[in-house]
Symmetry: C2
Subunit: 643 residues, 2 copies
């Protein structure tokens, strides 16, 4: 039997006992420490850099590191095996600590939805708490306890068709009598039926709270909403812990479907994340065990499957079918969520394997489906989803863009967390004019919006050309040969960064971003073409998504991620999914409308569309092969800069 070694991690001071021969990545997972592991431990992404401070390891000192780094103790956590007790430091760029930036974006209120819908959308939450005082039973009025309750509720809610589970029915007579017939009925919307979820003694009708959650592949964001007042009280966000099993949905599906234990681990990771956020909000706002009776979830299709333990396996295999896209409400306790034990989970509907409830909720919250004018919604993440439509039709497609805009895949890329450069301006090829970091900390990396700015600036100062090639002739010595002979541009030297490493952008980073933006732009073009439309026909183009901070829309046009339309037609709408999840919770009408939207949305399969590859190739230029599509950009960067 292998001997057991103790692996301690800094910062944090946690440790795990593992058999010798275990990888450091596994040891980190065991001890609950997050280590960036984009490729899921295959040793190919180079993101799991850690520094061994004390003890012996074998392997993991790969070509990802410079000689200095190796001397410094750097190894790949997924390749380095534990030989003795270890002390391991996780450098900032490898950590997944800290919370993601929380972006509310342009969140519509019910009053906005009323305007959009052209009729009053009133506060009618999916879970209601109704205080009723029942007449005491007498010989003249000796209906059953349940009927007595239903009669009062029916009067109050102006509805019929109640249904109640056996367990709560069993408790009913005791609750009613102990509370002297003054109770609060917790009732949940189930379409034509209303489920009496719980009956609480006394008047608790003002203690009715909800969690609205957007479960993304990368981040999990929750709002705490007061269903009595309709107000949003607070928010909390964290990275999706499933990332330790793979950065994208494909890797996670592969992992989850390997063994039942894996599936369980995957489910427990996301349930744990949600519970952490719920607990955090409940503590902050001093909520009790039965105060939160509803969780409304907008997740992408894979996230919903993994959360509910629906086998996700077929989502990733042609023809990409999920188990179920439209689900009725479930008891949240059934999957272990920390809301009221009898509270309900409403999972918003998905459209296809790669068009999830997050998009549907976003379509709703942006009001696209409420207008007779045609709009486009672009949700940028590892998968870019594109929607075009109005109140009469909706069509959507999904294009795999890779995680570049989520801050992965690039050497200095990082998520939009503390220390990430989110905006940057260059003075010229040699000088950075200004930049900002999240949390105003010393920079340790670049996040998605930072890369959009950086590429746009590099184009304008002539550091790269239309093909994305680094311009060796540029008047700077910041362009140099980096690791493995790949050319790179030195943005900030180690002396100016928070992790004593140079901040760079390499040729392969630029290529990654080129492909990512190319895939998204091509998808928008193909989808428009399928409708015989042009960008000019759209009233508005809205951008939502995984950018951790506000996107500079103008720069997104310069790099050709977004089309060259008048500025006022482009809008960054932030986290529209979360807004949709919240609106659904607040109003049955909104909830129903979201289901109607899912129903009417046509899925357009890009992978079988021959023109997609052509369009992709054409779009793999900055801003585009066809410069006539980007007249304003050409005016800015000038043909002279574009060789």
């Amino acid at each position: 039997m292998a001997k057991t070694c103790k692996v301690s991690f800094e910062p944090g001071g946690v440790s795990a006992e593992v058999p010798a021969g275990t990888t450091i990545l596994v040891a980190a997972n065991r001890s609950g420490v997050y280590v960036n592991s984009l490729c899921g431990g295959d040793g190919v992404c180079g993101r799991c850099r850690v520094i061994v401070k004390e003890g012996k390891t074998s392997g993991g000192s790969t070509e990802f590191f410079t000689r200095e780094e190796i001397q410094h103790g750097y190894i790949l956590a997924c390749q380095g095996k534990v030989v003795s007790d270890l002390m391991v430091e996780i450098p900032p760029e490898t950590r997944l600590t800290g919370a993601p930036q929380y972006i509310e974006g342009e969140v519509p209120l019910l009053t906005d939805m009323s305007k959009l819908a052209g009729r009053s959308v009133s506060l009618s939450p999916l879970i209601r708490k109704t205080y009723v005082e029942l007449p005491r039973p007498s010989l003249d009025d000796n209906v059953s306890d349940l009927q007595r309750l239903e009669q009062a509720l029916s009067k109050s809610l102006q509805t019929q068709g109640f249904q109640m589970g056996l367990k709560i029915t069993r408790r009913l007579p005791v609750v009613l009598r102990k509370a002297d017939w003054k109770v609060t009925v917790v009732s949940g919307y189930r379409g034509p039926l209303t489920e009496i979820v719980d009956v609480e003694a006394g008047d608790t009708s003002k203690r009715n709270f909800c969690i609205a959650a957007d479960i993304g592949t990368t981040t999990v964001v929750c709002n705490l909403v007061d269903l009595y007042s309709g107000q949003t009280l607070g928010h909390a966000a964290k990275y999706n812990s499933q990332v330790r099993y793979g950065a994208d949905v494909i890797r996670r599906i592969i992992f989850a479907t390997q063994t039942p234990e894996n599936e369980k681990a995957m489910r427990e990771a996301i349930v744990g994340d949600l519970n952490e956020l719920i607990d955090q909000l409940a503590t902050k706002y001093r909520l009790g065990g039965s105060d939160i009776s509803l969780i409304s979830i907008a997740g992408n299709t894979t996230m919903v499957h993994l959360l509910l333990a629906l086998p996700a396996e077929h989502i990733r295999k042609e023809p990409y079918t999920g188990v179920a896209y439209r689900l009725p409400p479930f008891r949240a306790a059934e999957i272990g969520l920390h809301i009221s034990p009898r509270g309900l989970l409403y999972s918003l509907p998905c459209v296809a394997g790669f068009v999830g409830a997050d998009i549907v909720a976003g379509i709703f919250a942006t009001g696209i489906a409420q207008s007779s004018e045609t709009r486009m919604l672009i949700d940028i993440g590892t998968n870019g989803e594109i929607v075009i439509g109005n109140k009469d039709f909706l069509i959507c497609a999904s294009a795999s863009a890779g995680p570049a805009f989520e801050g992965s895949e690039c050497k200095s890329g990082m998520r939009a967390t503390r220390g990430a450069i989110d905006h940057i301006r260059l003075q010229d090829a040699d000088h950075v004019l200004q930049f900002s970091t999240i949390g105003s900390e010393k920079p340790v990396g670049i996040c998605g919006t930072g890369y959009v700015d950086l590429i746009a600036e590099m184009l304008q100062v002539g550091l790269i050309d239309k093909t994305g090639q680094l311009n060796a002739d540029a008047s700077t010595d910041r362009i140099r040969e980096g690791a493995q002979g790949v050319m790179e541009y030195l943005l900030l030297p180690a002396s100016q960064t928070g992790n004593d490493s140079d901040l760079t952008i390499s040729q392969s980073d630029i290529n990654n971003i080129l492909r990512a933006k190319g895939a998204i732009y091509a998808a928008t073009t193909v989808l428009l073409e399928s409708l015989n439309m042009k960008f000019q026909d759209l009233t508005e183009i809205m951008v939502a998504g995984a950018f951790g901070n506000f996107l500079n829309v103008e720069n997104a046009v310069i790099i050709g991620l977004l089309p060259d339309v008048p500025c006022e037609k482009l809008r960054f709408v932030g986290n529209a999914s979360l807004a949709g999840a919240k609106l659904a919770a607040l109003s049955k009408d909104c909830y129903d409308e979201i289901f109607r939207i899912a129903e009417m949305t046509t899925y357009f399969e890009l992978s079988t569309e021959p023109s997609f590859m052509d369009q992709f190739v054409s779009a793999c230029f900055f801003p585009h092969t066809n410069v006539e599509l980007f007249p304003s950009v050409m005016a800015k960067i000038g043909p002279q800069k574009v060789r």
Copy 2:
């Protein structure tokens, strides 16, 4: 610590080890042997007669026994305590072995219901099995697995609004693919929604069976119904094992509400009974684990509460309110029933604490609520329930009659099982002309219909007078002083019986029957009066109920249990409840109609009606104080015989 004694019971040969000091009744319950115990062990009913053949006991030799009986070893099982190892014989009259008589009565078929309803009532069972062959998913058609299933089902069933639980949704992709997209969908009716209960590989649509159950206080009767053909395949019946905890609902409620263990024991008793009958039918008809997907239950209110573990406590206390009378379908496995693990239990609706689903099902099956003519339904049991109505109104009442007509409370009374005299004719005061017993065995007691005949005959041959007084002047020496100085009539001497005991009817037996019939007749009168109606206004009077065999309706009129209306207006309809439970299972329309009937039925509380006591007193004569109400009876028994 008390020493342990072994108590063996004959016949049966089972035994139990109990501490010395335990009563024989408890020992019998422990060993699973049924001992009649009407008063629940209070020592006042005298029904728990057993014979101690070997060993020592203390107590239990009460005034219920003659000196000979005591010498023979008779003691009350509930009072006699175990002192040493015992061998106890349970005489036939104390046993609850054998199955109750199964009476189908006049069971309407769907075609009859169609006639009554004036429209076609088609076979549309509450649980359907639909075989579907799904198109394989492709890139052109990659909806979710669930939607694929729902689309096919929707086409087949011409319905929408499906709902599926999380557990079965999780299994869906595997089932569909293993079965090569050819599956049978088991779907259950939930009003506006259809629940997909299960999905089975291949075509199992012809294996769709249902248990229809009538759960009475005394007997439990089940039908096995083929939902594919609509045919009833078989039946099974047994005594309700809860009888060991009390003969009537009041005693059982008291017992069940004493401790959670008691409630559990009570529930397990009835669940055990149902399972025994289900298993019996499943074995006989070679049904597999998932073939029976539905159980449709018509029970009285208390039975439904005890079965579903709804606290029954308030049913027996003024103002007599149950927990819930209208319940949605539940998973049958939730209460431990041996049908398909995912099968549903549909519990038919009750109206009040003492007007249960058995009555509602009976109202439906007899067609009262489908006709514009007004009819009365009398259900005779420990509680007599009376219904008057037509398609526009329904009113009902419940009167406590005592268990005399169920063969209890009378010295020679017994349930309608083997050896019970069910019909009898006297030649004169001194001679029995003929009698029949159930199973054509040697008589060991008299059941309900036997008592109706016997009293009617005794009236006609002058053995009793209008007040029910035994006629000491009758020309017979069979009238004698019995135990405790109570006068009795010797029907059959021990030499002609199957248990070497005289079969007698005592003055107090006659008084019991007088009160029982008086309560029921008074209830019918008060209810009619409340409507300003007379018996003559009724098109028909139907009698259902706990009689173990066909009631001689003419004799029931003679004793004044039923009113003196033309013979053709009286009809014994047998087990109408079971018929209703079956029709509900076979047709959603019937199920809905039964709920509509429960909804429209007005409960009339007799206990607060001042005229009830007057009517009861007037009805405590044979046939009635007001002989003008019974002209045909007076013609038969003649005023000369009625002193």
